[in-house]
Amino acid sequence: MDAKKICVLIAYDEDGQKITTCTVDRAAVQSLIDGALVMDWPLSDIGYELNDEFARMIGGVAFKLLATRQQGLARLITVTEDPESKGGPPSV
């Protein structure tokens, strides 16, 4: 029997000044995922290689997404950004 599929959650605990990680049952959070702004990262785009570079990018995304709602985190993030992104997103 297959093990249940999971999702990884990464949270910033401001009071405890720590990052917490855990896994949750994917089926249990599927309705929350359906209601969220989901981004896809096709493995074909990265040559099916989950390497350092991709980990840096995904990790940076996680920190920066947290920082959109917990601004205290922003000044701690020193992950190298995409050099192409300099100047900010196009005005919408």
Partner: protein, 187 residues
């Protein structure tokens, strides 16, 4: 699992290429946050104006119909009851066949015997309710815009780590906004 450590403790053989953008990072981030906040404020103001305009239009339409309601009935009755006194001059003959038209004083035309049109109140009031129903309340619309602004903040986060993600993210944010303002909920 991703742990954050002081840069000095990181051997930096893993993250390649190791690049620092210390110079622009703080200024640039602050600038971008400000630009984003300005845009958000402008959007919120635009949206508030739009909401107000819609509210006023709905209210005006409702007032007009309410004011019109009693008079419509009397106008229709008056028009209907005036038909028997229509006279056809010789010049107008053949233009419109009114069937058996009696003389001016006889009051016996087919139309004269027809019941006057009656104003049906429910017709007009139902129309306004239906029209109003396609608009969200200002609170619901504000909720949609609030969620959209959060979505776009997330898109900025994605953008900073991978520029090419912007298109997909802003498209999906727009789709979510569209679903929200058309009352289909956020999916």
């Amino acid at each position: 699992m991703i742990l954050r450590a002081e840069p000095a403790y990181i051997a930096h053989d893993g993250f390649v290429p190791t690049r620092k953008y210390v110079d622009y990072q703080d200024d640039d981030l602050a600038q971008r946050v400000k630009a984003y906040a300005d845009r958000s404020a402008a959007h919120a103001a635009d949206f508030a104006r739009y909401t107000q305009a819609v509210d006023e239009r709905v209210r005006a339409a409702r007032d007009r119909l309410t004011a019109l309601a009693p008079s419509v009935g009397s106008i229709v009755s008056a028009v209907a009851s005036s038909f028997p006194s229509v006279s056809v001059s010789p010049d107008d003959e053949g233009v419109l066949d009114l069937g058996e038209v009696s003389g001016l004083d006889e009051q016996l035309t087919p139309l004269g015997q027809a019941a006057p049109f009656e104003y049906i109140k429910s017709a007009a009031s139902e129309v306004t309710d239906t029209v109003a129903g396609i608009f969200l309340t200002p609170a619901e619309e504000a909720e949609c815009m609030f969620q959209y602004n959060l979505d776009m903040a997330e898109c900025s986060a994605y953008y900073s780590m991978q520029k090419s993600s912007w298109g997909m993210c802003s498209d999906r944010a727009s789709q979510r906004l569209a679903r929200c303002v058309t009352g289909k909920g956020i999916m």
